[in-house]
Point group: C2
Chain length 331, copies 2
């Protein structure tokens, strides 16, 4: 039996009281395909935004990517725990384009962040599943709005992908972190050039024990490689940091570089401008999507569309004239 | 003073009588930003399609690309003239994403196809100009529908680009031809790997005089290179042909390969299936575009959108809730 739809006011006060289950429930509504669920979730976001203190400090949205096995989850676990210990509230989200098939390979298993998932100041949520990356990305972006309204200040968005999912994460974050493994020569294998170009910080993880020498060599290589890349619009030159999430070394240094990045990009106003551009992008994305579903929910449209799809396949009508007939049905 | 909008019936009968100026005029209407022009052009297409004999032979849509200087125009001139001499009617269109700026660098100068442009059985049209590649591609695709309805059987679509315009041409053609120059080692310079992967036939043009030896070497290299590519859904293995448009050598051989391609892909039904898929794609593209302009022409929408764009930029509202308000105005 489905649970009754909770009232917006109840969800709002529960979330304000720090109830993570209520937050999770609202995200589930946000991810639902039922329109009334989405409406309710948005009421919660609006309610939380209205009640949020005006002098709220700026949030920070951190994108994290890297090949499977690079230790992203462990790194987030250690970084996140350090930040909650400093009094921050931390949310961890994910964009996994394969989640529709694999039911979410990233963050699906919270045991990979055992410490952080037990932490009251942290909130972890696996990737939404959807038929397409666009849907996954849009839902994650809206979840960012929700967790920020709920008072989380540092949001990690993890991904692993083929480039497209990194572009999605890049379109909703302030800083982009690439997690790499030490290794000589072929260290960039499996990581597309476009992804390296997006990175603001390259974290060479597992730089411990016998791997330290290789890691230092890798750092020098990456340093040379990133110098060949075009200058970023943020004016920031990518930094390479050696760390080991398992041995908890280099983690404070890594975060210091993130802070140096935010200071620099706040000073030159890039951070604010970038957020404005991203907001415009998501506004138009959401309009596009809403328009599409308005259109496909129209019964008259669906009927004409089915007929026109057949006619176009048979070649009896030009696709453009067929499209006009479908649009006519919508009007 | 603008010319009065000609009647659809007049344009139809003129085009049926082989009047190329009337055809050009209709394409201009198709490319116009004024809705009544587009409506008129589509009336002409529908009228021509209705009057077209049922037993019309299949048309052939040939995409052609290659770096500037590879001799694409000369090759089309020679190929086209050979085909009109065989009794075919040939149309040459272009997709040039830079045409909005350069006013159409491809085919803009008909003197580059002096012979063909004087040929009654041929019709040449430069690239439409538009703010974006999507617009250019859509207009060209609709022009294909028009020239085919007008009785042209072989349609060349020329492009030169960065990969994106090749994808556009690929989405509306039956066969894809890459024109290359002879040259050892670095012959693929300037041509992206993705473009080579799209090619069904590689024509090594300017294979004449002292260049013949280099051309043969290039053919062997390309042969090895294309063997490493994944198998095409058409089942066709790319062929390499040496030719010289200027000396008119290898041209009949080149066309024989095109014919072998069409025979093979007709036999395994790929050609028909591919056309069906393309038609579906363009139907949905055209719907998307129509929906977008329906939306942006709505005054209420424009007002709310302007307000919401500002609010989102100031960060006072989530982009998704702003989008909902804009969509509400549309309803």
């Amino acid at each position: 039996m489905p649970r009754p739809l909770p009232a917006a006011a109840d969800l709002i006060s529960a979330i304000q009281a720090g109830d993570r289950a209520a937050l999770g429930r609202t995200i589930t509504l946000l991810e639902s395909t039922r329109p009334e669920h989405l409406v309710r979730a948005r009421e919660v976001i609006t309610g939380l935004e209205d009640k949020r203190p005006k002098a709220t400090p700026l949030t920070l949205r951190v994108g994290i990517t890297g090949a499977p096995g690079a230790g992203k989850s462990t790194l987030i676990e250690v970084l996140g725990s350090m930040l909650t210990a400093r009094g921050h509230r931390v949310a961890v989200l994910a964009i996994d384009p394969s989640s529709a098939i694999s039911k979410g390979s990233i963050l699906g298993d919270k045991t990979r962040m055992e410490h952080l998932s037990a932490d009251e100041r942290a909130f972890i949520r696996p990737s939404p599943s959807s038929e397409n990356l666009g849907g996954v990305a849009r839902k994650t972006r809206e979840t960012i709005a929700l967790v920020e309204a709920a008072g989380y200040e540092i949001i990690f968005i993890e991904t692993v992908g083929t480039g497209q999912s990194e572009i999605a994460v890049h379109s909703m974050t302030d800083v982009f972190l690439l997690v790499l493994l030490p290794g000589a020569g072929d260290e960039l294998q499996g990581i597309k050039r476009g992804i390296v170009e997006m990175a603001d910080i390259l974290a060479v993880n597992k730089s411990d024990g016998e791997r330290i020498k290789t890691a230092q060599q890798a750092k020098a290589n990456y340093h040379n490689a990133t110098h060949l890349l075009p200058t970023k619009s943020s004016g920031w030159a990518p930094k390479i940091v050696l760390c080991s999430a398992i041995e908890n070394t280099g983690i404070t240094e890594l975060w210091k570089v993130v802070e140096a990045y935010t200071t620099a990009t706040r000073q030159n106003d890039w951070l604010t401008q970038n957020r404005k551009q991203q907001a415009q992008y998501w506004l138009h994305e959401a309009i596009q999507q809403g328009l599409q579903s308005l259109f496909s929910q129209n019964t008259a449209v669906r009927e004409v569309l089915a007929k026109m799809e057949q006619a176009v396949t048979q070649g009896t009508i030009s696709p453009f004239i067929a499209a006009e007939k479908v649009l006519q049905a919508f009007k």
